[in-house]
Symmetry: C2
Subunit: 143 residues, 2 copies
DNA sequence: CTGATAACTGAAAATGAATATCAAAAGCAT
DNA sequence: ATGCTTTTGATATTCATTTTCAGTTATCAG
């Protein structure tokens, strides 16, 4: 799994003529070791606390590369910070976002995805990506 | 239609003990005269070009009031600017966003909305709002 | 291995949207 | 009109992200 992701990035780097650097290796390692929905700052701090000095700019730049390489997805919730999550090949999910405790529940719904395709087709629209977020209170925060 | 919106804001203002000001009247007029999905900056410039001096801060503040009053909805696309659209009572729609020409197509799908409710219910989640955006190329930009 | 070249890094500065500050102005009740 | 409270807006501030650019490093031809 992790090796597969590393290979994926390697292939991407090769195809784009990117160089292999210490920083990119470290950032990839740490990104792969995180759970879902990490903000750039969280990653930066995690790297910092490992006594590995890497600059902010490099973390930002590298996460964009991961996104381009298809192994990360950018998520913009309503907290003013860009977050990244892992892309699992052949999977897609959307989010229930709790405004009480900021927790995120993931869900998949094939019917919704199909309806989206139909709507797009009806408008001659070519889908590249989509996002769907449901905001509200999770079971815990309701009570 | 426009009178109805003005009354709506008036009622809201009264219920909140807000004062009636020249600035709020102007911003409401201009907001109601726009089409969908205006950014704060666009509104600000429109006001400025009408030779009516109103500060940035006031435009930001007032649009939040409109949102609270239920006559505007905040939209966050991927261009780093908050936009606002008109709320039509009893209606809801989502967006197809063209990454080629930045145009936006609106659509409604009752089945998707119902599926969202079901998913939320399944997780004991109480929905407050949701957003769904499909990104890609519109019919024009495809060709 | 060596040197040339182009890519990469990161500290620091810049950007840009949005918010906070606060003194002056304006609305409203009496 | 008076007095009190809200509102405004120029300005400063915040904060995430991007840009700059000089120094560093990876890669590759010789
Ligand atoms: Mn997720
Ligand atoms: Mn719309
Ligand atoms: Zn919660
Ligand atoms: Zn288009």
């Amino acid at each position: 799994m992790i090796l597969e992701k590393k290979k994926m990035f390697n292939d991407f780097a090769t195809s784009k003529g990117l160089r292999s650097t210490r920083q990119r290796d470290i950032i990839l390692d740490i990104f792969l070791s995180t759970h879902q929905h990490v903000s750039v700052e969280e990653l930066y701090l995690k790297i910092k606390s490992s006594n590995l000095g890497i600059g902010h700019a490099t973390v930002y730049r590298t996460l964009k590369l991961f996104t381009e390489a298809g192994l990360a997805r950018e998520i913009l919730l309503h907290d003013g910070q860009t977050r990244y999550e892992h892309v699992v090949k052949g999977e897609h999910h959307d989010h229930l976002v709790c405004t009480g405790c900021n927790s995120i529940i993931e869900f998949e719904d094939a019917t919704i995805e199909k309806l989206q395709d139909e709507i797009a087709a009806r408008h001659g629209f070519l889908i590249k990506s989509h996002k769907m977020e449901i905001y509200g209170l999770c079971a815990n925060c309701r009570s």
